[in-house]
Amino acid sequence: MSVSEMFITLQGVLTADQDIREEIRKVVQTLEQTAREILTLLQGVHQGAGFQDIPKKCLKAREHFGAVKTQLASLKTKFPADQYYRFHEHWRFVLQRLVFLAAFVVYLETETLVTREAVTEILGIEADRERGFHLDIEDYLSGILTLASELSRLAVNSVTAGDYSRPLRISTFINELDSGFRLLNLKNDSLRKRYDGLKYDVKKIEEVVYDLSIRGLSKEAASDAGGEK
C-alpha cells in the first residue's frame, strides 16, 4: 500500500469520526434547548405566585422529560456503545444539567433525593455502564450539587412568599446531603470544587432557619406543617 493510499484510508476514519461528532453536537443542541425550557419552567417556583403551582409545574416538566428521553434515545444511536467516554465531553454538561432538573422535580414532588437509578429512568438511560448509555457517577453528583444551591435559593424565596415551613424541611434535606457527600473521598478537581460550594448552601439555609426560629416563626411553621401533612 502506497503512502497516499494509506492516508486516504486514514482520512476515511477521521471523516467518520468527525461525522459522529457533528451528529452528536446536533442532538446535544436540542437537548440543551429542552433543558433550558424545563429550567425556565421550574424557575417559576421562585416567584411569589409560583408556590401554589408547584404540582402543575412538575407535571409540565415531566412532559418535557418525555422529549428528553426521545432526544437521549436518539443520542445513543449516534456512536458505538463502547465509545461512550470518547465522546463524553460533548454531552457531559447537558447531562449534569438534566440530572439537576430531574432531581429538582423529584424534590418538589416528594421532597426526597432522587437516586441515580431514578434519574436514569426519568432520562430513559441506563443505570449500569455495562448495559449501554449510562449516567457517569460524577455527572450525577454534580447535578445533585446544583440542586443544593437551588434549594438554598428556594428556602429564601419561600420565606418571602410567606411559607415558613419549607425552609425547615429544606434544611433537614441539605444536612443529609452534606453528610452524604462527606462520606465521599473526592479526587476529581472540578467536583471537589463544586462540593466546597455546598457548605455555603448549608450555612445559608441554617441562617434562614435561624431567622425564622428567633422570631418564633418556625414554631408557627411547625404547627402549620403539622396541619398540612
Binding site: 440543551e32 434547548q33 433550558r36 429550567l39 425556565t40 424557575q43 417559576g44 429564601v156 418571602t160 434562614v208
Partner: protein
C-alpha cells in the same frame, strides 16, 4: 556596503509601487477612522456612566423629576456623540468597526435602559433604543462643511446607528447590577415597595437570560454568573424585609414608620 546601490533599481513608479501607495492610503484611512471611533466610544462610556450615577441619586433625592430631566439632557448629549459615530459609519459596514464602538454602545444601553426602568418600571426594547438613534441633518453648518465628499447628503437626510442584539444583551446584563444597587439603596432608604418590584423585574431578566443560556456568544454567557449574584442579593433583601416585617402585624406598619420618622426628626432637632 557596496551592494546597497543595486537595490535602488526598485522603481518607485512601478505599477506595484503605485498600488502599494494606494494600499498605504487605504490602510491609514481605515486605522485613523478606527482610532477616532475608539475615542468617541470612550466618551460615550464615560458620559453614560455619569448618567447612571446621576440616576442613582433619585432614590435619595426629593427632586426626582429634575434628575430625570437632567439625565435626559445627558443622554441627549451622549446621542450627539453616537451621531458622530453614525456619521463616521455612513457608507461603511459597521461591523468592520464594531470592536471600536461596542463598549460605548453597551454602556449607553445600560444608561438608557436604567432611565427607562425608572420612568416606566419596564424593560426598554432594542427597537425603542434604536428609534432614538436615527439622526437627521438639522445642523446646516455641518452640511455646508462637507458638501461634496459625502454622497448621502442630498439623497438621505437621515442616517442611523443600530445597536446590535448582542450589545443590547450585554448592556442589559450590566443594567441588572445597577438595579441591584438601586434595590439595596431603596431598602436603606426605608422604601419597602421598590425592592419587591425590582426582584420581580430582575427575576424576569434572569429567566430571560437563562432561556437564552449558552446559545448566545460567550460574552453573554459569561455575564450569567454576575447576574445570578445580583438576583441573589435582591432576593435576600426582599427576604430580610419580609422576615423583619413578620414581627409586627401588617396594619401597624404605617404607624410604626410615622413614629420612627417623628423620632428621627426630634433626634435631629436635638443634635
Amino acid at each position: 556596503g557596496q551592494r546597497k546601490d543595486e537595490k535602488d533599481n526598485v522603481n518607485s513608479s512601478s505599477s506595484l509601487m503605485v498600488s502599494f501607495k494606494s494600499f498605504q492610503l487605504e490602510l491609514d484611512t481605515r486605522h485613523d477612522k478606527y482610532e477616532r471611533l475608539v475615542k468617541l466610544s470612550r466618551d460615550i462610556t464615560i458620559e453614560s456612566k455619569r448618567t447612571i450615577f446621576l440616576l442613582h441619586r433619585i432614590t435619595s433625592d426629593p427632586n426626582g423629576e429634575e434628575i430625570l430631566n437632567e439625565s435626559e439632557a445627558k443622554l441627549e448629549a451622549v446621542r450627539q456623540k453616537i451621531k458622530q459615530v453614525a456619521q463616521e459609519l455612513i457608507g461603511e459596514d459597521m461591523y468592520q468597526f464594531h470592536r471600536a464602538i461596542s463598549p460605548g454602545l453597551q454602556e449607553y444601553v445600560e444608561a438608557v435602559s436604567f432611565q427607562y426602568f425608572i420612568k416606566t418600571r419596564s424593560l426598554i426594547s432594542v427597537k425603542e433604543i434604536n428609534k432614538q438613534l436615527i439622526f437627521t441633518m438639522e445642523d446646516k453648518e455641518e452640511e455646508t462643511n462637507t458638501p461634496s465628499s459625502n454622497p448621502y447628503d442630498k439623497q438621505l437626510c437621515t442616517w442611523s446607528l443600530k445597536v446590535t442584539p448582542v450589545d443590547y444583551l450585554l448592556g442589559v446584563a450590566d443594567l441588572t447590577g445597577e438595579l441591584m444597587r438601586m434595590c439595596i439603596n431603596s431598602v436603606g432608604n426605608g422604601d419597602i415597595d421598590t425592592p419587591f418590584e425590582l426582584s420581580q423585574f430582575l427575576r424576569q431578566i434572569y429567566d430571560g437570560f437563562s432561556y437564552i443560556g449558552n446559545t448566545g456568544p460567550y460574552e453573554v454567557s459569561k455575564k450569567l454568573y454576575t447576574l445570578k449574584q445580583s438576583l441573589a442579593k435582591v432576593e435576600n433583601a426582599c427576604y430580610t424585609l419580609k422576615v423583619r416585617g413578620s414581627e409586627i402585624p401588617k396594619h401597624m406598619l404605617a404607624d410604626v414608620f410615622s413614629t420612627k420618622a417623628e423620632m428621627i426628626d426630634r433626634e435631629e432637632g436635638l443634635s
